[in-house]
């Protein structure tokens, strides 16, 4: 792998390819886009420093995303970012700032609120499975939890999101 030989351009390609997923996963942990970008960046810095530990025989995606999840946890500890208190499941609940509504749109606001009602592990599981397309097994390795737990987390997260977003229940939820 060229990046392991110190090729910055090659590493830049990896950032370009896995950056969006890294930012989404960090956002699933930290909620705030700016914090998520900081964590994703920290993750890529850490990956660059430790690139020789990466086994080129395996997929880069799960490796970098595991690092990003750890970086997001570290950032939260360092900045003592408080986990947003779970909000009521009634949507649209609370007072949304007009600016946020304009910037994000009503649907974005609803998704944000729905996600915040979920425990972090379920958020990560559903983002990694449904949005990023990783298998239960890969997620299990990334998060260091049993595969059955991942399966259950995805199931519950989906069901909760569908209910809170007013989507029709799927076959499995």
């Amino acid at each position: 792998m060229a990046a392991q030989k110190g090729d910055r351009e090659a590493f830049g390609e990896l950032v370009r390819r896995y950056g969006p997923a890294a930012r989404r996963v960090a956002r699933a942990v930290l909620h705030h886009p700016e914090d998520a970008d900081d964590a994703a960046q920290d993750g890529f810095f850490s990956a660059w420093r430790n690139i020789n530990r990466y086994d080129p025989g395996r997929q880069f995606g799960p490796w970098i995303l595991r690092i990003v999840v750890n970086a997001a946890h570290d950032l939260r500890r360092r900045r003592q970012i408080r986990e947003t208190d779970p909000v009521s499941a009634h949507l649209p609940g609370g007072e949304a700032s007009p600016v946020a509504l304009v910037e994000q749109g009503e649907l974005g606001e609803r998704i944000d609120r729905a996600l915040q009602t979920l425990p972090e592990r379920q958020r990560l599981a559903v983002v990694l499975f449904d949005a990023e397309g990783f298998s239960h097994g890969e997620i299990s390795q990334m998060l260091g939890i049993p595969e059955g737990t991942v399966r259950s987390d995805v199931f519950h997260a989906r069901r909760a999101l569908r209910a809170r977003l007013g989507l029709e229940p799927r076959g499995d939820s």
Binding site: G12, D37, I51, I111, F129, D130, L161
Partner: protein
């Protein structure tokens, strides 16, 4: 309460996945790439000659110190080792018997 999983649960949910991707997507992906690359710490990637060159100076210095110490040790006359000297010279067989015998000599 028992959970019932069905086969559709093994595949990603495109509707939820699409919503999450759109919502969690950060703005300006190319800007993020530039930001990461601009702050990327310098990694030292040395080839074998650079590694040898780095070791050369301390290596030569260490070799010089060892050579000087060895030269000094060889050049100066070595003092006699008191531990290696015999405690007394045995000149006769009787002396030797006296020393080696475990019995008390008869008067």
């Amino acid at each position: 309460m028992t959970q019932k999983f069905n086969p559709s649960e093994h595949a990603p949910d495109p509707e939820i996945g699409g919503l999450l991707r759109t919502h969690l997507e950060g703005l300006a992906p190319e800007q993020f790439v530039h930001r990461v690359m601009a702050g990327l710490p310098q990694r030292f990637t040395l080839d074998s000659w650079e590694v040898l060159a780095r070791w050369a100076r301390p290596g030569i210095a260490a070799a010089a110190i060892i050579t000087a110490a060895l030269g000094a040790w060889l050049a100066y006359p070595r003092q006699s080792d008191p531990v290696g000297e015999p405690l007394l010279e045995l000149s006769t067989a009787a002396d030797s018997e006296l020393i080696l015998s475990a019995l008390i000599p008869e008067p």
